[in-house]
Symmetry: C2
């Protein structure tokens, strides 16, 4: 005699004597808004997982099951098909559907309950964030950018939807080449330009072009994140001491570095320029080895407030030993993730050969829009406007600082370039206390030592990075007042 | 007695007796359209580099030089300032400007000549590219996407221009969480979602969360690019043999793998589903170790042509051991580089702590537009439309293939899902010959063996990947005809 057993609903299942189930009943009223086949699929799945429907037991035939539930045969067929697709049942041609044997895994519970929706999150904001590279909305030519995006959609056609070439769309690379020719005296084959979603991604690709654990020389004011991640990046960072002009080239030569990372136009975060003599020393180092290259990060060079742009080392190089890096996150808006690099021909060929399978990391749409923005002249107009805006911001905040109580206990290091300067303040307070006091005044304080590899700070002093790109002019007196209150 | 020397223009420089230059003359008519100060700066620079102006020689005073050239004092001052900025001269307060000593580097030539503009490039195209994930322009709801982009610009306000949080903007993470809840039965805290410019970038970040040389298990049909790059990625790939259901979990357990990479809904490139029994084996493996996690790449799961979407392992998991990966490049357009991953809480915390300094790699603008596209329901409508379109494409090309001469020498493997299938063809031709014949017919042939880690192809057969997402319906007969001609 065979006893009925109760399923996930407490309704009886009647097994037949031949290892198959004569009938299963589910209460279809409980399905809510779910389609019947989905409800059936879930009920059967749960009963198979719970062992109520036994391993290798045969399920009722579609027709019988459908008649019993008073639904169409197709509904049952759909539920069985889904169970079959996901492996809860197996079928034997023309003989029916059987429960999969999962006895071995009865200790493993899988989640079959309906999930809960999750509450959306919000993000905090500061009165002034010295750290973040935010810009004032009024400075970005929204309507022009908007019309470039519309033009990209209209003119892009099929090209907009194709897989992006590994080095970026030719239209943007051509536009960048022409821009660099017009503005920086650089003659660049667009085939050597590579587009990427940020400098970090491009740097990583550069490192992948070299042997594992390649030596990368950088100044003490080099990118702290690179040094922190060196092991993950398969590089060894050789920190080279130097002076105000840059790293000591003799010491550089004594290391086994293949790459030398520099910011010749505007060294971060001090803003100094690498002078020609130091550049010649670096060229001299690079020209002495086949696998020696200079990485020139030109990220901030557009913003200089006297004279013309500093000539990039790329333009001075006669032996194709400079890898050039720049970003539009700085010149356009921080939220636009488009950077580019220029590789020497030997490295561009190596990239194509070894890394050409990587997808380009920037959407073609934004590449088209940016190409249009550059080609229309809007980019150069924007740079000029921003240069004037930053020049005014710089003067306004310097003036405010010099007439504030803070001026008595601080000194400024700045070189007429970039969008930040250093403020060295005499204080006995710890960095942690200063940071906390800043937060209590709704200021996000940024320390020089957070950016450099080795903190050579003088005792009794702390150096802040004052990024003035985002300060709204009206807020400057209040920002300086709050900052003063921390120290004076 | 002191002799005059000729400068870069053949014009005499008159040195004085006291190590300073009394006068230099340049022919200003030769400057073309350049500002006078730029012309002067370049001339002086070249003469200093060439040693015509000697190391430490004093330049003429601004006033004398200006009088001699018949230009304003400011013009000379601007030229001197630029030389000073770039380090060609140094100044001694109130005493004047002196040429920098660069004698040590007279063997290093730097490039000072005017560059040439470079000719723009074009890119080639194919009648049919089986490899590339292109889509037909008509399938993408351009006007809806366009209006989402416009809405993003109008509503985004300041948020559009802020630095993007490291894990993506909350609006998009919230929209994805709600979408996954509605469509895949997944309950996901938006704080656990991470936005990135492509799956490759997210995979790399996952690996960075683990010890160096972490073991990553994958099937023989796993991502070939991962295996190729394992060393650069700081991972060891453990290729686990298996059967039609997936990798052998016992063999998996014998390796020291921490991560197990699978495509449960649609294994690439065969299109099979990982059945529940195999999933339980994998869960069983993952639940046995603190540092064991399953990477679920769900990239193609939206496209199934019968029944409902396959339940993701993420939704089945009860112990937060699944890292979930998906991309919008597949569901939207290949040229949109937006992917996302969901990390288990323990790994999300580790990410924030160790990798939170990385910038998000997707522009905020496209994140806002996509959030709007999802929230408005347009994304789900688009998926449904694409599913219907691909279903028709699939039927059309299968029908054409089955009635073509190719059907006599080929067999098809496909599982009612994804946007491609495998075509196994009996042939004596080599892959290289087939590829070349394809190119001559303007077809870009794609081989199964290009995607898998170990080619277990049968001799006398070749297996092609037929990606039908991009074939224009009208072209199908011609594409199949050209393909047939290669083999029959």
């Amino acid at each position: 005699m065979i006893f009925p057993k109760s399923n996930s609903e407490g309704i009886f299942i009647f097994p037949s004597s031949r290892g198959s189930i004569e009938m299963i009943t589910y209460d279809l009223r409980k399905r809510g808004s779910e389609p019947i086949y989905v409800f059936l699929y879930k009920k059967l799945r749960d009963d198979i997982l719970d062992g109520i429907i036994k391993p290798n037991e045969k399920l009722p035939s579609k027709r019988t099951f459908a008649n019993n539930l008073n639904v169409g045969v197709n509904t049952v067929a759909n539920a069985y098909d889904q169970l079959l697709s996901e492996g809860y049942v197996y079928s034997s041609e023309k003989r029916g559907y059987y429960a999969t044997d999962m006895q071995r895994f009865h200790n493993i519970k899988i989640n079959t309950s309906a999930p809960e929706p999750v509450r959306p999150e919000e993000e905090p904001d500061f009165f002034m964030d010295f750290r973040a590279n935010r810009i004032n909305l009024n400075n970005f030519p929204i309507s022009t950018w908007n019309s470039c995006m519309r033009k990209a959609i209209l003119d892009g056609g099929d090209n907009l939807y194709k897989t992006v070439p590994y080095n970026g769309i030719p239209q943007l690379r051509n536009a960048i080449s022409a821009y660099l020719y017009r503005n920086k005296g650089m003659s660049v084959d667009p085939e050597l330009i590579f587009i990427g979603a940020g400098t970090e991604i491009l740097l990583r690709k550069i490192f992948e072009l070299f042997e594992k654990n390649v030596g990368v020389a950088m100044e003490e004011t080099g990118l702290k994140t690179l040094a922190k991640q060196a092991d993950k990046l398969n590089i060894r960072v050789n920190v080279i001491p130097g002076d105000d002009d840059g790293m000591d080239a003799d010491l550089l030569g004594e290391t086994d570095s293949s790459l030398c990372y520099v910011m010749p136009a505007n060294r971060f975060p001090t803003g100094r320029v690498i002078p020609i003599k130091k550049r010649l020393e670096l060229f001299s180092w690079a020209y002495e080895g086949d696998e020696r290259f200079i990485i020139e990060d030109d990220y901030d060079s557009e913003f200089r407030y006297s004279g013309r742009m500093i000539v990039p080392m790329y333009a001075e190089d006669t032996k194709q030993k400079v890898i050039y890096l720049n970003t539009f996150s700085k010149t356009m808006v921080p939220s636009l993730r488009i950077s580019y690099m220029i590789l020497p021909p030997v490295l561009a060929a190596r990239y194509k050969e070894n890394l050409g399978f990587y997808s380009c990391t920037v959407s073609s749409f934004e590449q088209f829009a940016l190409a249009e923005f550059i080609n229309s002249g809007a980019f150069e107009r924007h740079i000029n406007r921003m240069r004037n805006f930053y020049r005014k911001q710089r003067v306004a905040i310097l003036k405010e600082l010099l007439s504030s109580p803070l001026s008595k206990v601080s000194s400024i290091e700045e070189h007429n370039a970039g969008t930040h300067f250093l403020l060295k303040i005499k204080t006995k307070k710890s960095k942690a206390d200063i940071y906390d006091e800043g937060i209590s005044k709704d200021l996000h304080i940024s320390f020089f030592s957070d950016y450099i590899l080795s903190d050579k700070g003088s005792p009794g002093y702390v150096t802040l990075v004052i990024n003035y790109a985002a300060i709204v002019a009206d807020k400057i007196p209040e920002v300086v007042k709050r900052l003063s209150e921390i120290f004076v």
